[in-house]
Symmetry: C2
Subunit: 465 residues, 2 copies
Amino acid sequence: MTTSLKNSAPELLYLLHGEPEDLALAARTFRAADIAEALLTLSPDLAAKVLGALPFDLAVQVFDEPELAHHRAKIIRLVKDPAASQLIEAMSADQRADLFRELPELDRPRLLKALDEETRATLKSLLRYAPDSAGGIMTTEFVSVPADWNVERVLRHISAVGQAKETVYAIYITDPASGALQHVVSLRELMVADRTIPVSQASDRRTPLTVGVSTDREEVARVISKYDILALPVVDADRRVLGIVTVDDVIDTLVREVTEDVQKFGGMEALDEPYPSIPFHRMIKKRAGWLCALFLSEMLTATAMQRFEGEISRAVVLAMFIPLVMSSGGNSGSQATSLIIRSLALREIRVADWWRIALRELPTGITLGTILGVIGFVRIELWQMLGLFDYGPHHTLLAATVGFALVGIVAFGSLAGSMLPFLLKRLGFDPASASAPFVATLVDVTGLVIYFSVAFLILRDTLLR
Amino acid sequence: MTTSLKNSAPELLYLLHGEPEDLALAARTFRAADIAEALLTLSPDLAAKVLGALPFDLAVQVFDEPELAHHRAKIIRLVKDPAASQLIEAMSADQRADLFRELPELDRPRLLKALDEETRATLKSLLRYAPDSAGGIMTTEFVSVPADWNVERVLRHISAVGQAKETVYAIYITDPASGALQHVVSLRELMVADRTIPVSQASDRRTPLTVGVSTDREEVARVISKYDILALPVVDADRRVLGIVTVDDVIDTLVREVTEDVQKFGGMEALDEPYPSIPFHRMIKKRAGWLCALFLSEMLTATAMQRFEGEISRAVVLAMFIPLVMSSGGNSGSQATSLIIRSLALREIRVADWWRIALRELPTGITLGTILGVIGFVRIELWQMLGLFDYGPHHTLLAATVGFALVGIVAFGSLAGSMLPFLLKRLGFDPASASAPFVATLVDVTGLVIYFSVAFLILRDTLLR
């Protein structure tokens, strides 16, 4: 049974108006993540009150939840001062840096001044890194020990300092002289090792996986998930460990990236905040931009149609299949795009593989187009035979036009859909950016040209004479 | 530096033809995940040879990599028999169950017989569960101790058995009499605790989070990522722990689900295997089904157009804006769909919230539609004024038709796009299934009707007389 606390927000409010001890006691049965979720639904004012009424260690855990990220800055400004700085002091270093990134310029100096020297120095160094880099998501609370300690001593060290660390399950073994990272040993390896051997002999002695501060957080997520490790050290040029990124940060990163990708893929800017709570005007802003851009480029279809005005007026029946052939191109393009975006994201393929993909998508597109072309041909002939609609004396030529146009358009859609993510990536954009609607627009315009060209070739002596 | 071994496949092959010791030695510098990745690019025959030449413990690690999942069955059939069963014995229980799920019926009895009694019993019990349930992804190698042990004894127990467990970082404390789960304690809590107290006093004593065997793996992933835990116990009706799901399984699950969702969202069946290695005919099969379904439903646009044949022949100029207005409806629908799919997946909203979303998407759609409508109106009037195209004497009415139709179509697109995921979910389907192209088709047909209805209202006394 997973405890899902839909109603913890009202419950917290109710308890807030009773005895403070009741709230503290009841809150003990809640989990930090659930309380954080409940706080999201309260006004910053009330959230600050609830936070103030919780036992301090629970309040710290709640305030440390990454879920609260976008609300933390608003809440902390309403917490009275000794409590506010105590809370910030007690947060983990990565979440604290996130909080300060969100704080308005105005509040920063006041809260910064209230912190102790060491916390302030760490915070300032973390704030130097971009929020989507390894430096920006790492935390500084890790366990590192010199290589000449023995296993027993390391275990005793962990018992002493373990409470305050983000993780104690990966221990970083450093060169006693230079402080450079030599090996990583897991707590499990230490537990099963002989207690008297030097700690460096308890590890598997392979060169540890590391990243630099500027490594993209998606790459960090990829390394952690590929190698199934609990934490990845971030090192400087001299291989000194500056911080670590833990697996739970990576899950948060993965979930966030997926949301962004799906939204971009749906043809809009990433919202960057939960859909149910984003204000109306901000949502319009995030959606209107791309919608207008797509609308403006889709205007090319009107321009293309104007060129074929003569054809349409001579054969109105041609216009009837425009939506059908256009959407088929868009659908096949959207399939190809989604395949390539995922394959690129999983590193199954590289940008340099583009021509191999092209050589694969072209026959795929032709095959799929032929299938649809045959269905389209049969549909028109069938309707004619059954007397459902009269396409005129040249119905077979019309059916052939639709059929051949579909082959060309679906093939073009697959090709364009598969190549666009490569192009976007090559140009330095995220391949997921609005790819599907973008492909649809590209394929729509080209599809019209293909359709009318095929029509001209097949019907020039009959319908289009 | 993250070691990326693009060329380890050829290197492994090269070493295979030299001294076996060279291969074994060189392989020591590789990581299991990298060797597994290299094996993916080799034929099962060669992969089996490489696996046979690796030191046994490394071979086990490589064979245990979830990345190999779809190839393991093909490889193990080509490994000679004592080696094959040794390898299977040494795998983790969850990966072993996966392997047997992939094995052809023919090979199962032979390999099953070679396993020892206990392994076989565990395997058979795991195979009873659906592969996408908690039971299907859990492993049975966890540490559990009776509540009356003290911390010191538990730590010594972990040192003794830790090597063979999937994780030693979460320890399950059970009732000494019934074996039911009482608490979970982390190794970190044990490390910092007084060694003489009972283990149950070292934990936070909250009711532990658990799931049942039939819980969906996506729900398992959600719980683990929400509560930032390293492993989640799977319990039976009497709260006895049957197995655990670890955080790295969840990452694999997340990545796989995302791939499936993106592919379904792109309008196709999930491939279930990597894009670069899927055979041509299987890819066509996965893509043609949905493409044909969408094509057949999109045929409704042709039927709708047939109804408006009269209007089009009287005012060919109306046909020119069909692709533009249709695609705008599709784009706004695709935005709304992607927002709702993600929001549902993140549990930000529930199916019961549908009406609240509808009340939100309708004004959003009207606003977005008005923005596009104004642009569309200006575009037509501008082209007319600048003499770029002659839309005839009723150009202002035509521009108004396009403008008002856009308001209606974009609003309908947003509404339909946001409601479809709810409908799919309500009907028991995955909301991500082909949603975007599905919405596009729905919006295309309705869009035509809206467009021609608006045209009829505005132009009935002029162009359409």
